[in-house]
Symmetry: C2
Subunit: 123 residues, 2 copies
């Protein structure tokens, strides 16, 4: 188990760091957001996050699966193989917290008032 190992960082199992560890991959938070509303195929996720290399996306998805956040479902359609990725129950409950972090971030960023000419937008 990936994040459970990380959660032992400070010498003992720390639930907080476990949660953070699960989301701390560079693209994991975005992936959870993408899957929050509907299951998606690998290619769909990939196209929705173009700047994330395929191999990296595969790694992040694999870790989220190890951690029981994302479920994978292989679909043989004739010769083609597609993979459906969806949130598990744990994943869905995590998504609730993700939304709160997003909301906190929006308030936080809007308090910084002086943003260099880009606008804040929700994930």
């Amino acid at each position: 188990m990936h994040a459970a190992r990380m959660s032992v960082r400070h010498g003992e199992y720390c639930p907080l760091d476990c949660t953070l560890g699960i989301l701390s991959g560079k693209w994991k938070s975005i992936i959870v957001c993408r899957l929050m509303h509907e299951p998606l195929h690998f290619g769909e996720i990939h196209r929705s996050i173009p700047s994330c290399p395929k191999r990296t996306l595969a790694m992040q998805l694999a870790e989220l699966e190890e951690d029981g956040i994302v479920a994978r479902q292989v679909e043989h359609e004739g010769a083609v193989i597609r993979t459906r990725h969806s949130l598990t129950e744990s994943g869905a409950s995590l998504a609730t917290i993700v939304r709160q972090m997003d909301e906190w971030g929006m308030e936080y960023l809007s308090r910084l008032s002086t943003l260099p000419d880009k606008t804040v937008q929700a994930a």
Copy 2:
């Protein structure tokens, strides 16, 4: 601003990654937990997290200050100089989410049922 820069990782300001960025330093979550109940001096924090090197602790605190989560207050007591670190308002509101992440982590870890002989304990 430290985390605000990080939040632009995916090509646009992402509040969610901003929040995660603020807490993503190796010891930042623990630091916020320590300051959650009361302000502490540098040495006190240091003693409460012995495995974190001084220089690293100083860095993490500095970044949390840059991000407006922790406030620093220097106290000249005769010749000695002490520094009080406390949560700002933003820090306090962040602590609320931190608690939820901790609770989620506890449920998550307890669902993994088979833990290698250490017990789960809250931060």
